[in-house]
Symmetry: C2
């Protein structure tokens, strides 16, 4: 089993690049084209493919269509993924309106908030009471949740999600939620990303040497 997270992230990036190449009319691709496209080495590409059992043709490269099929299979993109969202603040609202998920087969099916003024059970993507989240998860058999609530409520929302049966959480609250057996948590933290950037920018300014 593949446990290397970076490896999976690269897989998504390959897929993305392949879609672009396909749109441009390409039918096959070599490891070094893909390497260029996502800014890694060609042996990295081949090694990754070897790990995932993706094979090509010696001298003939890889068939794009075939790769995409296999990749979507590996990444579980063959059926629409139902996702719930906790928190209808600015970020939550942006996520709901974001069109990019649908083409990836990701559908936000409901949003939860504890501000009664925001509730709207009749909306296209209904906004429901946060206290009902666990029941909803169980009834609809949801596996993936997004947390876009303020820091203070994040851990308790996560606990509630997990106890309802959520197996994967994408967390935007600026706190690193604890991993729990049987649930994966990806933390996305914008302050940290910017802080990280500022660190490397300062280094560049001081030493004129780049990261990596």
């Amino acid at each position: 089993m593949i446990t290397n997270k970076n490896c999976i992230i690269r897989l998504s990036r390959y897929k993305n690049a392949l879609y672009r190449l396909k749109d441009l009319g390409f039918v096959k691709v070599f490891s070094d084209n893909l390497a260029d496209a996502i800014d890694v080495t060609s042996s990295q590409v081949r090694k990754d493919f070897s790990i995932f059992g993706l094979s090509g043709n010696k001298r003939g490269g890889y068939k794009i269509e075939e790769l995409l099929d296999k990749m979507n299979n590996i990444l579980g993109k063959n059926e629409v993924q139902k996702v719930i969202l906790a928190g209808k603040g600015k970020l939550g609202t942006a996520l709901i309106k974001y069109k990019g998920f649908e083409k990836e087969g990701i559908r936000i099916v409901a949003c939860f908030d504890n501000d009664p003024a925001k509730l709207n059970p009749e909306a296209d993507i209904p906004v429901l009471a946060l206290e009902d989240i666990k029941e909803f998860i169980k009834k609809q058999n949801i596996k993936v949740g997004i947390i876009a609530v303020p820091e203070a409520g994040a851990q308790s929302v996560a606990d509630e999600m997990i106890s309802g049966g959520i197996k994967g959480i994408l967390n935007f609250a600026p706190i690193k939620l604890k991993e729990k057996e049987g649930c994966v948590i990806n933390n996305v933290n914008l302050e940290i990303e910017l802080e990280n950037l500022i660190y490397f920018v300062n280094i560049i300014e001081k030493t004129k040497v780049t990261k990596n």
Copy 2:
């Protein structure tokens, strides 16, 4: 020089945890408290601290105030960081309204868009024409930019930013921008984060074994 990105990200997380501990009234902390707080091992904490030259007191632990000072220094948080934003769509707007940056000393000083209807040079955070971005960067000596434009325009906005003198880019467009000598790029990609999560969720479902 420290080139390990994960290490810098952990530094931000330590800092975050330390602020929370400080708010709770704590004055000193041990490596295993911090380890618990951000879900790593205590030797990882000590090793990181050793790399950054953060030292404590044998048997006495670390003074929170002192750590925070040194960390803010390392991360360049002693002065306000001026940041520009390209793209006033949903995400861009959410970023502008987001209050979390200010307390981290990060200030979005201007936003750029190529839709004339969105321009508003008189706003608190002015919305200016994308074509003026390079000049603005040069005049104001901006070092960090955020890209929140659609995929198609992302690389050209990045090129424009870099030629103006930007040294660090936080990219939200769903494409991995190429790293260039003298400029660091952090890519944040929500589809990829979710896809990654779905991959691990499927593995959990199939095998009942967790990541890591």
